[in-house]
């Protein structure tokens, strides 16, 4: 396989193909008749996925840190480049995106009935934006796509969403914009600092990393700007309030992409930019403690709030807040396991929560309700649906043998060595997760049928199987054989930690984490 890919010069064109194929597809959709829109969108996203699968083999874990590099000048006057590449972490986030996209298109088949062309064109543009965010190595490019992605999502929520869509979409837009515009100022501060230091003006990631030396006070503010942008996106408590609104109002595909990929952009940003640029502020000192505290609070708070939601979609939204807390905790714990675990949680959450949103969407299309109280005992009527929902819920809870377990376990394991208290409190989240999801399943699926309307529910259709089965396969596969994935993430996680430790000033006490030999990594 590797020789085949090398023969195709796969590493040279893959990123360009992934980025620009959806744009071409979007243009085709706008020109084609409306009835064709979904077929084109599905074809393009499926092709994207097929193309991207090659990354699994083409990415060489032992190779250079960043692979598949492509570089062209864009705005020469300001030293802005089209500069993209992937490391082990980006590869999997891109794969997650390309994996979820065709499913999201397929999941919207029946749900989206008006202005289909617009919807599918926006979905494709969204795909370009998301992939670009994960592969950009030029901060200007990153920023542009980080922002540009807002527009398609804004329209997807605002045009095709539920009753409160107007409020939800504008809230989503403005929340994200506050953070990202401040980040823009911080990027420019780095740009000028690096430019003055080196005499070379560029927004390149490595360039800024090496030369941007800011005085401590400025470092603090710039970190604050980056952190705010990403923390809103993650979202971390107390900046999470846009998320339940957006999720509840978004159409199914919107929710899936929002939870599956968009939230990951926040944690990816923390991992790639906020922490490596300002490790002294981020990790050492009070800020680091505050972030860890916020992460833990988010985990517990999200879980507790999820428990009392009457609306299944809102319940999942709050569970996202809780799961993403794991990711932040894993990043800040700064051990190889915890970082690997954080990346795993990002992937698993994308898959499990995506699947949950699909399942909610499917039942909503049948009953036009998401309220748990409107169901009860429907397992008798829709056994296949109930079985799949149960498996996916168990994976989201973190049952060993399914994918959710691996990431959360690694995060907790890694965190325990550096921050035992946080890890201990975090562990309770797993229990809460079991509580809110199992209780929801109990009320929704099991027991006697409480409402006569539910007696005639139809079980899954073939199209719905086509959406869910790939997700189930990945859930089980990642649960049983996480090794190959972890192996590919490990070098990048290791590099992240080395980078951060290298840049940490010596006088900052780093506790027992400094020991370079980490415990053997779970394979």
């Amino acid at each position: 396989m590797q020789t085949l890919l090398a023969g195709l010069a796969y590493d040279r064109w893959i990123i360009a193909a992934l980025l620009w194929l959806p744009v071409v597809g979007a243009a085709a959709i706008l020109l084609a008749p409306a009835a064709r829109a979904k077929y084109i969108a599905f074809g393009v996203t499926l092709l994207e996925f097929v193309l991207s699968v090659g990354l699994w083999w083409a990415y060489v874990p032992s190779g250079p840190a960043v692979q598949f590099i492509a570089q062209h000048a864009w705005v020469r006057d300001w030293g802005i480049q089209y500069y993209v590449g992937m490391d082990g972490i980006s590869v999997f986030l891109v794969l997650l995106t390309t994996f979820l996209m065709p499913l999201a298109v397929l999941g919207s088949w029946k749900g989206i009935t008006d202005r289909e062309r617009g919807f599918y064109a926006l979905m494709l543009v969204l795909a370009t934006g998301m992939i670009d965010v994960f592969v950009s190595l030029d901060l200007f490019l990153f920023y542009v796509f980080w922002e540009v992605m807002l527009v398609p999502m804004y329209f997807i929520i605002g045009v095709w969403g539920g009753k409160g869509r107007l409020y939800a979409s504008i809230k989503f837009f403005i929340y994200t914009m506050v953070g990202s515009l401040l980040m823009l100022v911080a990027i420019l501060m780095l740009y000028f600092a690096a430019g003055r230091q080196s005499g070379n003006w560029s927004f390149q990631y490595e360039h800024l990393l090496r030369y941007a030396v800011l005085e401590p006070r400025l470092q603090f503010w710039c970190f604050g700007a980056f952190f705010l942008a990403f923390a809103i996106k993650v979202p971390m408590v107390p900046l999470h309030t846009w998320l339940p609104d957006a999720h509840v109002e978004a159409p199914t595909a919107g929710s899936v992409i929002l939870a599956g990929v968009l939230l990951k952009m926040g944690t990816y940003g923390l991992l790639r930019f906020a922490v490596p640029f300002f490790p002294a502020v981020a990790i050492g000192g009070t800020v680091g403690k505050v972030v860890i505290a916020l992460a833990v609070v988010g985990m517990v708070y999200g879980a507790l709030v999820a428990m009392v939601q009457p609306d299944f979609k809102k319940l999942i939204a709050y569970s996202s807040v809780s799961h993403l807390g794991f990711v932040v905790l894993g990043i800040w714990a700064l051990t190889v396991q915890s970082v690997q675990g954080a990346v795993m949680v990002m992937l698993n959450h994308g898959i499990s929560t995506g699947a949950l949103f699909f399942l909610v969407g499917m039942i909503y299309e049948r009953r036009h309700s998401r309220m748990l109280a409107d169901f009860g005992g429907i397992a008798r009527v829709v056994p296949a649906y109930a079985a799949i929902l149960t498996v996916v819920s168990l994976s989201s809870i973190g049952l060993p043998g399914l994918n959710g377990f691996v990431g959360e376990f690694l995060v907790l394991l890694g965190t325990f060595r550096t921050h035992p208290v946080a890890a201990t409190i975090g562990t309770t989240t797993v229990i809460f997760a079991a509580a809110y999801l199992l209780w929801a399943l109990l009320r929704m699926l099991y027991g006697k049928i409480t409402k006569p309307e539910n007696e005639a529910l139809r079980d899954l259709t073939r199209r719905e199987y086509a959406v869910l089965v790939p997700l189930l396969v990945v859930i089980v596969w990642l649960g049983l054989f996480p090794g190959p994935v972890l192996r590919r993430i490990e070098p990048s996680s290791q590099r992240f930690i080395e980078l951060v430790r290298l840049r940490l000033p010596q006088q900052v006490p780093t506790g027992p984490t400094v020991a370079p030999q980490d415990a053997p990594v779970v394979r």
Partner: protein, 508 residues
């Protein structure tokens, strides 16, 4: 080509665009006096005046590409790329406004051919204002522009709002002119000259940097210009005037008038008193901050789209002031870049209002555009691009302009002002987005609600061109950035925004 402005021919060539336009306006005035007041004649005069603007534009383009150099003594008119760039922007704005007026005047029953004459004369004034190297020429241009604008604001004299707008504009504008004139007098008293270059020389050689009379004069000049560019706290007249005037006039004032006044302000600050940068930059800093914050916050609270756009234009004046604070070439280049697209996107947004509205458009709210995307998808898309560009969203020229301004501000150490600017931009999302939301996400009240919205074929082409320009220069700004830098390099030697040394190789 070298010009000697002491000689008649040299001066004529240097003032060629202004001369062409002024003669054109006079001829049109005569023609207007002899024609009947019927819609067809009015329409014809509109096209003829547009042709005049086109000819003047060609003259500017010729002068720009011919790179005239001055010989002999410095004179009262500038001959530098900055002037040509601003002239081109002003003419673009004027042409756009005239195009909007054709058809609008008939619809609103304003059958006054002198309307176009006044517009041309106002444009001449603006160009003089932007090109004056002498405070007297500046003042001349300012008055020509202002007097024409007062009349234009009140041209729909049967409507109360229009009359009110004209009176308010006149009273406050006259007041501002008086401030400016007094400022000119004091500066003359302190330095013995009204020529900007010579003032700069005197300030240096006589060490007048702390001279109280000069400082007082400068302060009065700032107040005068503050009125003209509608900077907070001198903005009080703007909403009522913009609201009451016919919409094409509003668009013209919001874009071109502001452009000219800003260009003059920048010229005065950078040519006459660059040495007083430490003195005036804090003042401009505060003006910029207050203008951005107040403009955006008040715009948030407007129901009428026309008033909202009026306040948004105040906010944009704040962004332009931010470009001025650093007093550098980078700032001036950022100013030029932003000014061009500010003109296009502002007039573009007003254009949609013109085609949607009736009776002066005072009552059109965002909700009146509900469902526009269904009946007029292209117009809605155009409006969306304009609004996103006004918001400074990546992928549009408005973003590159804002980015340029931010770069110039942060590069000169004004990070706090840059932060205020981005936060103010976030606020602006709160009033631009509801318009997009209404067009795309709200249903039409009834199927026929937008039936009377029709864009003439010519304007369809123009609007498409504007939208394409906003997107293309938002993605590939390089060429225009060079032009802007070349345009700004007229005055100052130093550099703030750096040029990268090509593209560094990828680190292995």
């Amino acid at each position: 080509m070298s010009l000697d402005l002491q000689k008649g021919l040299g001066l004529l060539i240097a003032l060629l665009p202004e001369t062409i336009l002024a003669v054109w306006a006079m001829a049109l005035l005569l023609v207007a006096a002899w024609t009947h007041k019927d819609p067809r004649a009015l329409r014809r005069i509109g096209w003829v005046s547009l042709a005049g603007i086109g000819v003047a534009f060609l003259a500017v383009a010729w002068l720009w590409t011919a790179h005239p150099r001055l010989e002999g003594l410095p004179t009262s008119v500038a001959v530098d790329p900055f002037r040509w760039a601003v002239d081109a922007i002003i003419l673009l704005g004027a042409g756009f406004a005239v195009l909007l007026s054709i058809g609008y005047l008939e619809r609103e029953g304003i059958l006054i051919p002198e309307y176009y004459v006044l517009m041309l004369l106002a444009t001449v004034g603006m160009m003089l204002l932007a090109g004056g190297e002498d405070l007297f020429v500046l003042f001349l241009g300012l008055e020509l522009m202002s007097v024409s604008s007062y009349v234009l604001a009140g041209i729909d004299r049967r409507r109360e709002a229009s009359a009110e707008a004209a009176l308010k504009y006149f009273l406050l504008g006259a007041f501002a002119s008086a401030f400016l004139l007094y400022g000119i007098a004091l500066v003359y008293g302190a330095t013995g000259s009204t020529k900007l270059g010579f003032i700069g020389f005197q300030v240096q050689s006589l060490q007048l940097a702390t001279h109280p009379m000069l400082l007082a004069g400068l302060a009065l000049l700032l107040v005068g210009f503050g009125f003209k560019v509608a900077a907070v706290p001198f903005h009080m007249w703007t909403p009522d005037v913009y609201d009451g005037a016919p919409t094409p006039v509003t668009a013209f004032m919001a874009a071109a008038t502001k452009a000219a006044a800003f260009a003059a302000l920048i010229r005065v600050l950078l040519r006459a008193v660059p040495l007083l940068h430490d003195t005036w930059s804090p003042v401009v800093w505060w003006l910029a901050a207050a203008t951005m914050v107040v403009g955006n916050l008040v715009a948030l609270n407007q129901k009428s789209l026309k008033r909202m756009l009026a306040y948004s234009s105040i906010a944009h004046a704040g962004y332009l002031l931010t470009a001025l604070v650093s007093g550098s070439v980078g700032g001036a280049a950022a100013f030029l870049y932003y000014l061009l697209f500010y003109t296009l996107m502002t007039i573009g947004a007003f254009a949609v209002l013109v085609y949607k509205g009736r009776d002066g458009e005072r009552t059109v709210t965002a909700d009146d555009l509900a469902g526009l995307a269904e009946s007029h998808p292209w117009l809605a898309l155009f409006m969306t691009i304009c609004l996103l560009s006004l918001l400074g969203f990546p992928g549009t020229a408005g973003f590159i302009g804002k980015w340029y301004i931010l770069t110039s501000a942060i590069g000169s150490g004004y990070a706090l002002l840059a932060t205020i600017m981005v936060l103010a931009s976030v606020v602006s999302a709160g009033y631009y987005l509801p318009v997009i939301m209404a067009m795309y996400m709200k249903p039409r009240l009834h199927a026929e609600v937008h039936a009377d919205v029709s864009v003439p074929r010519v304007m369809r082409g123009v609007l498409t061109a504007v939208a394409v320009a906003l997107v293309v220069f938002g993605v590939w700004p390089s060429g225009l950035l060079k032009t802007a830098r070349a345009g700004a390099r007229g005055f100052l030697p130093d550099e703030v925004v750096p040029i990268s040394q090509g593209v560094p190789a990828a680190p292995k």
